[in-house]
């Protein structure tokens, strides 16, 4: 586990910082969000899957937690990236980890974070023409949303 953190520190010197250095499940913060793809490819050498993508709304910024795991000794590593309110966009790591496909679609669906370079950037849970992003803190259930049925029929 220490070797992967050392490897990351060696390659991206000041961009990376270790927040929580438990040997079983360390948390690593990435300062520059444009470096997500090279970091993911470094991690993919020793970790097998991205098993969870957690988005935390720290308004107005969003905090993305990528949780990677490997099968051999069941260890996890958490990569924390902050997306700011300028464009809510980050590079997709879909080409590195295949399981990022649906996780990123879900993050787009519920929080409206755009993943550039994603092969299929559609909503995954809600209807495609649904207005708004419901898990954001500033989301309010208005009458428009309350009465929205997706049908153009009135009984």
């Amino acid at each position: 586990m220490a070797d992967i953190i050392d490897d990351l520190k060696l390659k991206l010197k000041d961009k990376i910082s270790v927040l929580y250095s438990d040997p079983k499940e360390p948390v690593v913060a990435l300062a520059d969000k444009t470096a997500i793809k090279p970091v993911a490819s470094i991690i993919s050498k020793s970790f097998d899957i991205l098993f969870m993508l957690v988005v935390v709304d720290r308004a107005p910024k969003f905090e993305l937690n990528y949780l990677f795991s490997r099968y051999s000794d069941d260890k996890t590593i958490t990569l924390r990236v902050v997306v700011d309110e300028k464009d809510y966009a980050i590079d997709s790591i879909c080409s590195v980890f295949d399981s990022a496909n649906w996780e990123e679609r879900e993050a787009y669906d519920l929080f409206g974070i755009k993943f550039t370079g994603h092969p299929d950037m559609r909503r995954i849970l809600l209807p495609e023409d649904w207005p708004g992003f419901p898990l954001r803190k500033d989301f309010k259930v208005t009458d428009e949303i309350r009465n929205w049925t997706g049908l153009d029929l009135k009984f």
Binding site: L125, L126, P127, P134
Partner: protein, 178 residues
């Protein structure tokens, strides 16, 4: 149209013996058809969450749906008369539910099962659920409960049978294109 002359202004005529006989015959045929319909309701199971488990119990041995003619045999909306909407209907599911409802043949009856389908229930004022399935399709009988007991399903079917007998269901009152 042979009857067209009867509806002209100024040429009103009392119904003849043939009309009286035809009306009586129509009423008798309706009575027989309604009797048949109410005693052989084939439900379409539309189970999306926990109410579906109770619906299965309703069809199973202890609370036997078959003895009221409610046979869980139709595996297609085109064979069924009754749709048991059991479970939360999300906004994405609304279009699918309407597709199922539109494929059923006339006459069709709807039972809304559970608090979610009556008024939104636990998911009231949520962003993703239909608050009451009567926003989409006309409902004849509501079953409250979260989820309701299987006996309440039996009660609802008996209420629906009474409504069919008394010409009080939505499809009988308001016609095919309600």
């Amino acid at each position: 149209m042979a009857e067209e002359s009867d509806f002209q202004i100024g040429s009103f005529s009392y119904p003849g013996l043939a009309d009286v006989f035809l009306t009586r015959a129509q009423k008798f045929i309706d009575y027989v058809l309604d009797w048949g319909r109410k005693n052989s309701l084939w439900p379409l199971t539309f189970g999306t969450s926990c109410c579906a488990i109770e619906m299965m119990t309703f069809g199973a041995t202890k609370v036997d749906a078959d003895r009221m003619g409610t046979l869980f045999m139709a595996d297609s909306p085109r064979l069924s008369d009754l749709i048991l909407v059991s479970g939360t209907i999300t906004k994405k599911m609304a279009r699918r539910l309407l597709n199922m409802y539109e494929q059923m043949l006339y006459p069709k009856y709807v039972i809304a099962v559970g608090a979610c389908n009556v008024s939104g229930g636990l998911y009231h004022d949520s962003y993703n659920t239909i608050e009451g399935v009567d926003r989409i399709i006309p409902v004849d009988v509501y079953i409250p409960g979260c989820p309701p007991r299987p006996e309440q399903f039996m009660d609802a079917v008996r209420v629906l049978q009474r409504l069919i007998k008394e010409n009080e269901t939505k499809v009988q009152k308001y016609g095919r294109y309600y």
